[in-house]
Amino acid sequence: MKQHWYNYLWICSVLYFALGFFNILFAWLGLISFFLPLIFAIGKGSKGFCNRYCDRGQLLRMLGNQKGFSRKKDMPDWMKGKAFRYGFLLFFLTMFVSMLLRTWQVSTGAATLRETVTLFWTFQVPWHFASPAGATPWVAQFTFGLYSLMLTSAILGILTMLLYKPRSWCVYCPMGTMTQLICRAKAGDSDAEKKPMP
């Protein structure tokens, strides 16, 4: 397959996690992965970000297809279903809001900065070595939360890449689900089956 420049965007993913290991403030860059797909979807009504420029999609494609780490088996039906996709989106959004709440609590002094990365919303992994000296506590708290979210979802993505198809993550990726909903609404096409071929 011909390689395009965007096929190398997986480097961004690797850099992101590596930088967050040294200084957690770099994790703020993760917001790019939240805003760019939304800009594409709201502005252009396209999933161009998912289709080409998503660093995680490229990472999973590279590992699963080029390096052959994927079993390339079908995902279980429940995982591909709408209930799970929308449910996971809701769960993810709830966790995002709770992260914002925690940031707000730290900013008002109601809570103290926790220098840990929380994996799978449960396991606290000590991450004090990457804690920035002298940063405003809420700025640090938010970045710890964002890095936790990014790392957890990356691990989930890699696990499903190994078990199922390389880009299985894309099926239940909350950003992908959300941008598809936006695009379908913009295209005036929430019930796809009823429309003729464009």
Partner: protein, 74 residues
Amino acid sequence: MVIEKPKPRPPAKRRAVPDRDRCVACGACEAVCPRGAIKVWKGSYSVVDASRCVGCGLCARECPASVIAIEVIA
């Protein structure tokens, strides 16, 4: 005596048919299609250009949601 070569059987015509309702519009199919025959339409679902699709099945194998069927057309 002339021995005639058996005529090669014409290949079965196949075409990729994505399920629009279950498609997640990730674009994995678009990335692997060697003929540019499958595209994500307005970020909503994949559509196939029947004049370009040769039914090779690369997209169907790639699709993480496994929603592309390869159908034989008469």
